[in-house]
Amino acid sequence: MKKTFITALVLALVGATFLVHGVGATEEEHGGTIVFTRPVKAVVFDHQSHMDMGYECDTCHDGLFEYATGSAEESGEFNHKSFAEGNYCGACHDGSTAFTAVLDKATGKCTLCHIGVKGLDRASGKETKKPHGD
């Protein structure tokens, strides 16, 4: 499902605020929005929009992802190669359940999740550096 840019941004802001303050997302918000910064900056994941599609906590948090923030990133396996083998996001984002996260087939959809350094800077309130002369 395509999310609007603005919604993603607002959610990214909320998510980043939690990350910055080191406060885990509350249960009421179903985990809030997560901004992953490893192995690349930065990828956004919005819990709410996934809950809205009818998924339960244990759809993903029963083997695919641990509850603790950062555990996927620390695994060293949180990447597209691993997704292609059905791990992490790749369990659903395989081109049939949801849009594919397999690198060779994901043409044009990268920025649905990838918000980049600029997205991360905005989410953390840091001003993005402008090009020369602007």
Partner: protein, 253 residues
């Protein structure tokens, strides 16, 4: 000319063109054609020479590769995720200060539906133009087109810091480096890598998404050649209207 002379000429009868010797008439016409650039293949108003347009399509000419190797870069734009590992690699490799850049990533939003927008990132760098406007305006020949590789290079010792090249560059690809008191720009990592035997730029090597593809456009076996010449593929350059004939190509997929 003195005023008396003018008064004297006014009283004279016009010679008329028919009385002018043909030799003299021809010389006069030749002078006019030279000034308007017709002899140089330019348009009527251009004072500088312009090369004949050889099948150039939207700023891309795929006929001649004047350099060997003819270095170029193809950017598969829709794969860019703005992770900026390319920028980090460039900064580290070429000692780029915090206030400048040799390459950067631009961002824009595309409307893809009534209430749906999508981010798009666009890597930019020096386009190493075949007809570089920066080189044309440099008063001290501090920036020049390398005769072998076609890379637009800088000789910082000759640079007087007038920044005319910065103003002339259609791609905003130059900055003034305070430390060396000279303009600095991307040289496809020539000084830092290519001249030492490495075959690719730091940014291309660092890219995890295979966005930046660097190579020799005059080599039909190279990946850049095959991407740019693929008839199924849409390839474009930035700001083709400037006529700079850039060597940085953009494509999707």
């Amino acid at each position: 000319m003195k005023i008396e002379d003018l008064e004297r000429f006014e009283k004279m009868e016009s010679e008329g063109l028919e009385t002018l010797p043909s030799e003299e008439r021809r010389r006069f016409l030749q002078m006019g054609l030279a000034v308007t650039g017709v002899f140089a293949g330019g348009t009527v108003l251009s004072l500088m020479s312009a090369r004949p347009v050889n099948g150039a399509l939207e700023g891309i000419s795929l006929k001649d590769y004047p350099y060997k190797p003819h270095y170029c870069m193809v950017l598969r734009q829709d794969r860019c995720i703005d992770c900026e590992l390319c920028k980090e690699a460039c900064v580290k490799t070429n000692h780029v200060p915090e206030y400048g850049y040799r390459t950067t990533i631009l961002e824009r939003e595309l409307t893809v539906g009534p209430a749906s927008r999508q981010r798009e990132f666009m890597p930019v760098l020096c386009n190493q133009c075949n007809r570089p406007p920066c080189v044309r305006v440099c008063p001290t020949v501090a920036t020049y087109k390398d005769k072998t590789t076609g890379i637009v290079m800088m000789d910082p010792k000759k640079c007087i810091g007038c920044k005319t090249c910065m103003a002339a560059c259609p791609y905003n690809a130059r900055y003034f480096n305070e430390e060396i008191r000279a303009i600095d720009k991307c040289d496809f990592c020539f000084a830092s890598r290519l001249s030492k035997g490495m075959t690719t730029t730091a940014c291309a090597e660092a890219c995890p998404a295979d966005v930046r593809i660097f190579g020799d456009l005059s080599d039909p076996t190279s990946r850049v050649y095959q991407l740019v010449h693929d008839p199924e593929r849409v390839v474009w350059v930035l700001r083709p209207e400037t006529g700079a004939a850039p060597n940085v190509f953009y494509t999707k997929g």
